[in-house]
Symmetry: C2
Subunit: 124 residues, 2 copies
Amino acid sequence: MTSPGPGANQGGLPSPESYFIPAGSGSRHTIFPGVEIRTAAGTNLMLSVVHLEPESVVLDHSHPHEQMGILLEGRLEFTVAGVTHLLGPGDMWRIPGGVVHRVQALDQPAIAIDVFHPIREDYL
Amino acid sequence: MTSPGPGANQGGLPSPESYFIPAGSGSRHTIFPGVEIRTAAGTNLMLSVVHLEPESVVLDHSHPHEQMGILLEGRLEFTVAGVTHLLGPGDMWRIPGGVVHRVQALDQPAIAIDVFHPIREDYL
């Protein structure tokens, strides 16, 4: 099992060794205080696991990439284009490119899956 | 909270009401015996939750859509282009379009997230 290197995301198809990405590997980024994202990139898809500490906040932002996600653990106050919902495990979101969104973790840790199209070069 | 209807996936951007997809909703399909997929579609992304009963099998198949995924619960014997790995929770996969893959659930139920680009019309 090989952890994906930068080369796995360039030059076309992943090699056979990079069909699988072991748990806990991938590229890590702390994107806001208490918010860590771990990403794996395909060709036109990026899959990520996001850990949010209690009370952490992903401030209002937008990006040209389309985003979808699902909450696995915890509770989030999630705002998309001014529409706020309180989300629990299993709830999903879909955010068109360019639409402003914000996330606030409540009083427990939260874990979410976020996916992007196209891949976010800033998260490689 | 509005469950996504077919209209949410057509005609461009989702409406504000469709930014969020409540847990347990979405479009359900039994794709192989003991294998149920529940999908939500964006514009160029499809996010799905897959439940696999013990010993269930997703037979060898391919599709032009790129696919990535992560195992949440259970154990899978996952084969991509003849490369087989035994996967546990947190392990991920990335499958370029057109590459044959197969999944075998082991002796317990499994839950996975699968994402596709572009959206799979057959899973709407």
